[in-house]
Amino acid sequence: MSTKHAEAAERFIENKEQESWHNETLWLVRVKRDNMAMAVPEWEELRELANKIKMHTITHLHKYIQQFAENAEANGVIVHWAKDAKEHNEIVYDILKKHNTKKLVKSKSMLTEECHMNPYLIEKGIDVVESDLGERIIQFMGVPPSHIVMPAIHIKREAVGKLFEEVLHTEKGNSDPTYLTRAARAHLRNEFLTADVGMTGANFGVAETGDVVVCTNEGNADMGTSIPKVHIVSMGIEKLVPNHKSLSVYTRLLARSATGQPVTSYTSHFRKPREGCEMHIVLVDNGRSEILSNPEHIQTLKCIRCAACMNTCPVYRRSGGYSYTYFIPGPIGINLGMLKFPERYYDNVSACSLCYSCNNVCPVKIDLADQIYRWRQNLDSLGKADKMKKLMSGGMKFLFTHPSIYYNTLKMAPAANIMPRFMIYNGLNEWGKGRELPRFSGESFTQMWKKGKVQRKNNK
């Protein structure tokens, strides 16, 4: 009874040094986040507001999305609507084709990742250049991100050094992060200067003004949109906030939750195309509107992709992003994967000890752990429930609903036949791999009580 996640996690943990580094490094990000949260007296009030504003916005999306599109269009922006990933990619490619694009320079976007846009465009002959340093590293390596904010967190500096020796001709054996970052700066500076089109995701869209807001630390989204003549924004329809007043709540929460900074270095507001240039916004549904009708999981639409849930997750930190089968890992990824394609991504539902820490760090108060609990309840109807687990649960129910049999078992049998039954039921004996089995005490509390061994003597 183990899932793909459990198996991949076991492989990750085999490299104890790497696992431990990954765990502790991400924990430090959690600590930085805590320091920021504790320094803002109104933190919990902010989270509650962020929750409520998003709940309002996504349940009035029909109004806000049109308001946003109208305002953007009035600002001279060309707005496109994409029902799904395929349409998104085609729209982007059409724009690129129209401008005879050879090189597209882009900043990090989980949405273009979701749409598998890069392989699609590369197939069509477009030179797609990721400009976030972490994204560029994994693009060179040909691997997907393992974290949504720190995409290359699983890669050690020596590996980056070696990679850059090959692709950027850096000095042999030099893996100093500053040296390597400078090399990437020089390399990407040239890419920015020679790109035909720049692309960004969107952290927020402001309905009242039509602004697209993009937050980065590196400034890569700004470089990529300040030189090429065309700017394409890829934006999920759930990214809206009503106005700047609402936006102020999220710009206070995002970076504090994500990296433990008071704000990102750049919070850019794109309202109009540059003079003589074009700006396009591609509004993407790709399953989002359907989530609106799902009361158990609608809250995922509040997500601002800060990854605080990953950094605090005791499972994510010790199993790494690649142990999950969906491209977004951690608590939010478990839920988004299930919403996307449950029959394909159900393996991730096991990756949760239900510790609820994710609920508490989430800046928009998504009920992440509760949702995972609920997915587990649905696995059986999907036919994806683990048979052994089901048998064990059924067996437990039988025993526990028949107290006389249960207590007889308790009286007669060794520990193996009673609780904790689920730990030792199967032949694999997963419990026993790293733990000793609990020992049956010889006499249960119930037996002691019945024999009057517990009660005070003058108490009948």
Partner: protein
């Protein structure tokens, strides 16, 4: 005040001494304690594994067994929070109401909030590291969760401070999970054990002789690892410390 003692299935079988300590301490505090002998399991193991409907018959029988008591008190926060938070919804699936969810208390919570205990005869001249269990912290609010910007408190530490001679510590990563998680412990055994090993390391780094906590299931999981690895640290439930000498 009539209290029904809820002794979770695995505590019943493995740690009956915790139940005995519960009884002794409540009795000492002048509470009328009863133990309904037909109780079994609250249903959490099945529910967390994804079969919560199998917990409904257990919830029904739990409701019946504990109907007559003013309070239901349990030395395992996780089981208590399952009853408290999930029974109303589970029972509503069959058009029933839960009468126990509003009166179930973790043992420490009961002592702290209801009995408001401010004096105990207990002596325990040892250094202990308090294990802040996930469900105790984040569902029952036995202490302030480390993620939240709220005033710091710990009901467990408040109670332990009444014990003479004790030295109370807390581990690094104050309230990180121990990796138990019920069925999670076997389904994700590698991660579960890894989290547990780290947790024990953090507890042991305090120099404590004992790891103590309000949730027996976390203690059981960590004890399994400690015994496998033959580590020099012991386990004791908070109730056993509070009842020491009775």
């Amino acid at each position: 005040m009539k209290v029904g003692l809820f002794i979770p299935c695995y505590v019943n079988a493995i740690y009956p001494e915790i139940g005995v300590a519960c009884y002794k301490l409540l009795d000492y505090l002048g509470v009328e304690v009863d133990y309904p002998v037909n109780q079994t399991c609250c249903g959490q193991p099945m529910a967390n594994a994804g079969f919560e409907d199998e917990a409904i018959p257990l919830a029904k029988s739990f409701e019946k067994e504990f109907a007559e008591y003013e309070f239901v008190v349990v030395p395992s926060g996780s089981c208590g929070s399952f009853v408290k938070l999930n029974y109303p919804r589970l029972l509503s699936k069959e058009g029933r109401e839960s009468h126990t969810s509003g009166k179930v208390y973790d043992f420490c919570e009961f002592l702290h909030d209801i009995l408001k205990v401010d004096k105990l005869p207990a002596k325990f001249p040892h250094k202990v590291s308090v294990h802040n269990s996930c469900h105790g912290v984040r569902e029952l609010h036995l202490s302030s969760a480390s993620e939240l910007n709220i005033p710091r408190y710990s009901k467990v530490k408040d109670l332990l401070s009444l014990v003479e001679g004790i030295e109370v510590m807390e581990p690094g990563k104050l309230d990180e999970c121990c990796g138990f998680g019920g069925m999670f412990a076997v389904e994700e055994q590698a991660v579960s054990v890894c989290i547990g090993q780290d947790k024990i390391k953090n507890h042991m780094a305090t120099g404590a002789e004992y790891i103590t906590g309000a949730d027996s299931s976390c203690l059981m999981h960590m004890q399994g690892i400690v015994e496998r690895e033959k580590l020099p640290v012991k386990f004791i439930h908070v109730v056993q410390i509070l009842a020491a000498g009775l």
